[in-house]
Symmetry: C2
Subunit: 86 residues, 2 copies
């Protein structure tokens, strides 16, 4: 078994209200960052996983997203990166 | 001015306790995902910004991280991607 570091992005689904993103965009405007048009806030999850191959590590994390990490009604997830750990 | 979508990862600094990551790792073990060795939870922030160049968009977001988005004591941030929006 090798060790892999898998990064996942979990973001509010398009069309779902994102009050935290709205609050951040408003705060940035107040601070003078007027060129910000939209902000969306999700989670960046980094998992260290033991697996035989990078694909197996990605598949395991996909299952974790389905069962625990992401809310299937309101969130989308994406495996952003799988890197080997020495 | 063009529009760019800038993605930022904000993660707990190495060595800082991450109770949310610990809770997620424990919950994954309970669900049977025994191959998870560590979990760390950060924020994935996606900003749509008007700027002249991709570099200018990245620089603006770096300033936003310094001033609002990241906690300079406990968190590290990284500009993960800058993509043009049509």
């Amino acid at each position: 078994m090798s060790r892999y570091r898998v990064s996942v992005h979990i973001v509010p689904r398009k069309g779902i209200l994102d009050p935290q993103g709205k609050a951040v965009a408003d705060a940035l405007h107040t601070l003078g960052f007027r060129d910000v048009e939209d902000a969306r806030i999700g989670r960046h999850v980094v998992l260290d996983v033991a697996a035989r191959t990078p694909d197996a590590a990605g598949d395991a994390v996909r299952q974790m997203c389905e069962r625990l990490l992401a809310n299937p009604v309101t969130e989308d997830y994406e495996i952003a990166r799988v890197e080997g750990l020495s």
